[in-house]
């Protein structure tokens, strides 16, 4: 009981902190350069990270197994992996756009996990026979880390597409910054995609240069993050295959979730191949990555929600064909 209370408290804390962080990010966009705001949003992400970690540990302790056996647990883990990517990119001091992606992604996954949609799956504490294996930790955590990384990477690609296909970048109150050259990519943030103040063509060439630089940075970061996610995905799928050979009798069963994971893998393999050809780089590869974004969601949710195949652990009983 005490664990459940603790879990609730932690959920609420990190949910509200992420909301605050996002609000701060929005404010930074509108009224930039407020001293301390940036700092506080960073601290907020650290606290969020600690809270989600605490939440997962709590669940681990009271369910006595790695808390990844249901959709709720996996969503929380996904949220955690977003915050991990955020932390890692901060620790390595990369000035990149990941933070613009990770914080909203973390809040959306958490919001979905804690929303009423999944309440009946929430208290699940038992582990069905097929999941009682050391592979659970390896396979599921790798898959979710890869989903997290691939989602981040493909969102960067989506941002690239949006920016490329718009006539002008939103400058809002930033034209001064442009002029003095202290253009901060961190601040344009993902809301660049949403705001839509069109400027006339005064600084077009100048801005085009920045736009070019910005899209190139987006492109390169999305490539890096997707490569990382692809590595995780490969390890995740293969460890899953080894596990399936222990539990289900074959390393590949063409189960819907397996198939969709393979489709995801194929799509991102295509992405990596498009990167090798100069003619296909940029917009084309970004399109592939954006398609990958949809496919990850189908892979992640489609199968769980329809409850088909061997991976439907919400309602799993030991059955064979």
């Amino acid at each position: 009981m005490i664990f459940e209370t603790l879990e609730h408290i932690l959920t609420h804390i990190c949910f509200s902190i992420i909301s605050i962080v996002i609000t701060i990010n929005l404010m930074k966009l509108l009224v930039h350069e407020i001293v301390g705001l940036c700092d506080s949003s960073e601290k907020g992400m650290i606290v969020t990270f600690l809270c989600i970690t605490g939440l997962l540990v709590t669940r681990w302790i009271y369910s006595r197994h790695f808390p990844l056996n249901d959709l709720y647990g996996s969503l929380m883990f996904l949220s955690w992996s977003f915050s991990v990517f955020h932390m890692v990119s901060k620790i390595r001091n990369h000035k990149n756009h990941l933070s613009a992606i990770t914080a909203p992604s973390a809040i959306f996954t958490q919001g979905f996990a804690t929303s009423g949609l999944l309440t009946e799956m929430h208290p699940s504490a038992i582990l069905v026979p097929a999941l009682q294996s050391q592979w659970l930790m390896m396979h599921v955590s790798m898959m979710l880390l890869s989903y997290g990384a691939l989602l981040c990477g493909s969102l960067l690609s989506v941002a690239l597409l949006v920016i490329t296909f718009r006539k002008n970048i939103d400058i809002l109150s930033k034209s001064k910054n442009f002029l003095i050259g202290s253009f901060s990519f961190d601040e344009i943030q993902y809301l660049n995609e949403k705001g839509s103040v069109l400027q006339s063509t005064y600084f077009l060439s100048f801005r085009n240069y920045h736009k070019y630089q910005f899209t190139q940075q987006l492109d390169r970061w999305s490539y890096r993050v997707i490569s990382l996610g692809f590595t995780f995905l490969t390890i995740g799928i293969l460890s899953g295959a080894v596990w399936a050979n222990e539990a289900w009798g074959s390393y590949w069963n063409w189960d819907p979730k397996e198939t969709w994971a393979f489709i995801t893998w194929t799509i991102f393999a295509i992405y990596l191949h498009t990167r090798t050809a100069q003619s296909l780089q940029g917009v084309n590869s970004a399109m592939v990555a954006s398609a990958g974004f949809l496919i990850i969601w189908i892979c992640y949710f489609g199968v769980n929600i329809l409850g088909v195949g061997l991976h439907s652990y919400g309602s799993f009983t030991l059955t064979s064909n």
Binding site: I235, W243, G249, H273
Partner: protein, 567 residues
């Protein structure tokens, strides 16, 4: 470091790269002159290949590739040791190919095929097609009877206006993952993988391994990353680069450094691992046996009776004569009543009836013997042992009643009165698992619940019933799969090589240009990290403050201006 040091360094680097193709092993060192002529002939010969070739994992643009070419074929004649090491591979290959001239015509044709197969858009198209077919396979229900598809995809109401059961059945989409179209696409992809590895990846690795100093500042300045350090010594840069994990080679005013060369080899490894997995999967499809059996506790079966071959390569082994005896089947439960684990105690007996193995298997813990694997996959209840009014025990066979939902339900019936009359009434017994049995009286009313083994009698319609035991049967899957070792080898290789592929091959050139050092570099994957790293490293290069010149702050590394480096 003098020129002598590199043959040793390259040797080290080769032993470290286990994935290096054998062609790259030190061999055949021909004279440089003849080789140069041949080398120049390669781009002309392979030009079209390069243009349309799939160029796997070279994220360099044309500019940088031209730089590569410049490096390879410098105008000035380099010393022998500079290019020789890197080009031996191509050289030996050329010798090999020139050894079979009578196959010229055939070679031309096969080269054309290779060029088509290694075409990147084709490979991408293949992958898209495979992904699409797989997606379609999850949308269309697989493995149903034709009647199902007649109903689901009727001709009078086609999906998307054209898609009817005729399509499904004609194209084999009712068994997508073994349909000729899907398997054909996979075979085509495998062919593309091989062609691409052969025509594009291996030459690219050769290009990457080939390296040399740049002797003029211009090509260095044209690199992706370029900087110029005034008042610095190229030797200091070398020390700092080697501290950062680079292999550094320097000669006179020139410096070359690289790291992460393994990531150039890794994509080849990825392709080979994919081929290995595909090969293993083919062997699995062609040479395995499978079968499943439901055995009541206490009975036995012969392995060979259960297993059925899956392909033309399936050959039974000695172990198929093994007899399996199910000593016991039981389930573990959580406190909430849900099943936590299934256990079957199996004994294997050889032809002489000698027990050769005994193991308690459960889900995730199969039994392996002589290439045969026995999995715990299913269960059911075979019978209830019932004592009726002190008589018995009788074995009442249980029948599965409802298998459509998630839960299983088994039922049996104990007739009361004359069993030959037309309307027999009796006691119904239902069970969801081996824990408890629900009993209903003749009218169908709930009578009570009893646990097997509890010995607690229940009296229904004047009959005293004791449920002695519930006998479960275990559902076992058996298989032999000769493809597994190959597939696992492929898995291991694929994991390793994708991880290595994440690394980036970074190269740095530098040249002492008077008192300044011109530095340039490029990296194939981590472009941003590379330029950040280079900025950081260059900041650490000490500035040489000469005695008569004390002007400070000229350079970008103002923080290190106070470090004086003895010259």
């Amino acid at each position: 470091m003098g020129p002598l040091s590199y043959s040793g360094a390259m040797g080290r680097c080769m032993t470290r790269n286990l994935l290096a193709p054998p062609l790259l092993q030190p061999a055949l060192r021909t004279t440089h002159l003849s080789f140069r002529g041949r080398l120049l002939a390669i781009p002309a010969e392979k030009g079209p290949l390069f243009k349309i070739g799939c160029k796997f994992r070279t994220s360099q643009d044309n500019k940088s590739r031209q730089v590569d070419k410049k490096i390879v074929i410098p105008d000035k004649a380099p010393s022998v040791s500079e290019d020789g090491d890197g080009d031996k591979g191509i050289d030996s290959k050329l010798q090999k190919s020139s050894g079979i001239p009578y196959l010229g015509f055939l070679k031309k044709g096969s080269r054309k095929v290779l060029a088509v197969l290694s075409n990147l858009p084709l490979a991408i198209g293949e992958m898209f097609t495979i992904a699409g077919l797989m997606a379609l396979g999850t949308v269309i229900d697989q493995g149903e009877a034709p009647a199902y598809y007649f109903e689901k995809y009727p001709e009078d109401n086609p999906v998307f206006g054209f898609f009817t059961w005729k399509w499904v059945l004609a194209l084999g989409f009712d068994h997508m993952y073994s349909s000729p179209i899907f398997l054909g696409m996979l075979a085509l992809l495998a062919a593309s993988l091989m062609a691409c590895t052969y025509t594009t990846q291996i030459p690219l690795v050769r290009v990457a391994r080939r390296w040399s100093f740049l002797h003029s500042a211009d090509p260095i300045r044209k690199l992706e990353f370029a900087d110029s350090l005034p008042k610095a010594a190229v030797q200091d840069l070398g020390v700092i680069l080697s501290g950062a994990g680079y292999e550094v080679f320097s000669k006179g005013p020139s410096l070359y450094a690289f790291k992460g060369l393994a990531s150039r080899f890794a994509p080849i490894g990825v392709h080979l691992a994919m081929l290995l997995i595909m090969g293993g999967a083919t062997l699995t499809a062609a040479g395995s046996f499978r079968g499943s059996v439901t055995v009541p506790q206490g009975l036995n079966f012969v392995v060979g009776d259960v297993l059925g071959p899956s392909g033309f390569l399936s050959t039974p082994t000695e172990a198929f004569n093994t007899e399996v005896h199910v000593n016991q089947f039981y389930m573990d439960y959580y406190d909430t009543g849900e099943v936590s684990q299934f256990h079957s105690d199996l004994s294997l007996f050889d032809l002489d009836g000698k027990e050769i193995m005994r193991k308690m298997i459960s889900v995730n813990d199969p039994l392996r013997y002589g290439g045969i694997t026995i999995y715990q996959t299913d269960w059911s209840i075979s019978a209830l042992q019932v004592v009726k009014d002190g008589e018995g025990p009788f074995n009442l066979a249980m029948a599965p009643l409802q298998l459509s939902g998630d839960k299983k339900l088994f039922g049996t019936f104990l007739p009361l009165g004359d069993p030959n009359s037309s309307d027999v009434k009796g006691i119904s017994m239902l069970a969801r698992d081996l824990q408890s049995v629900v009993l209903y009286d003749q009218e169908g009313k709930f009578a009570g619940i009893r646990r097997p083994n509890s010995k607690l009698p229940i009296e229904i319609d004047g009959v005293k019933i004791v449920i002695e035991d519930a006998i479960g049967s275990t559902g076992l899957d058996l298989k032999t799969d000769p493809g597994v070792p190959i597939v696992y080898a492929g898995f291991g290789a694929l994991m390793l090589t994708t991880c290595i592929s994440f690394l980036s091959h970074s190269q740095v050139w530098a040249l002492q240009d008077g008192t300044a050092v011109v530095v340039g570099g490029k990296s194939n994957r981590a472009k941003i990290e590379f330029s950040n790293e280079m900025d950081r490293l260059l900041n650490n290069v000490p500035e040489i403050v000469s005695f008569n010149d004390s002007t400070q702050g000229m350079s970008s590394q103002s923080e290190t201006t106070n470090i004086t480096f003895p010259e």
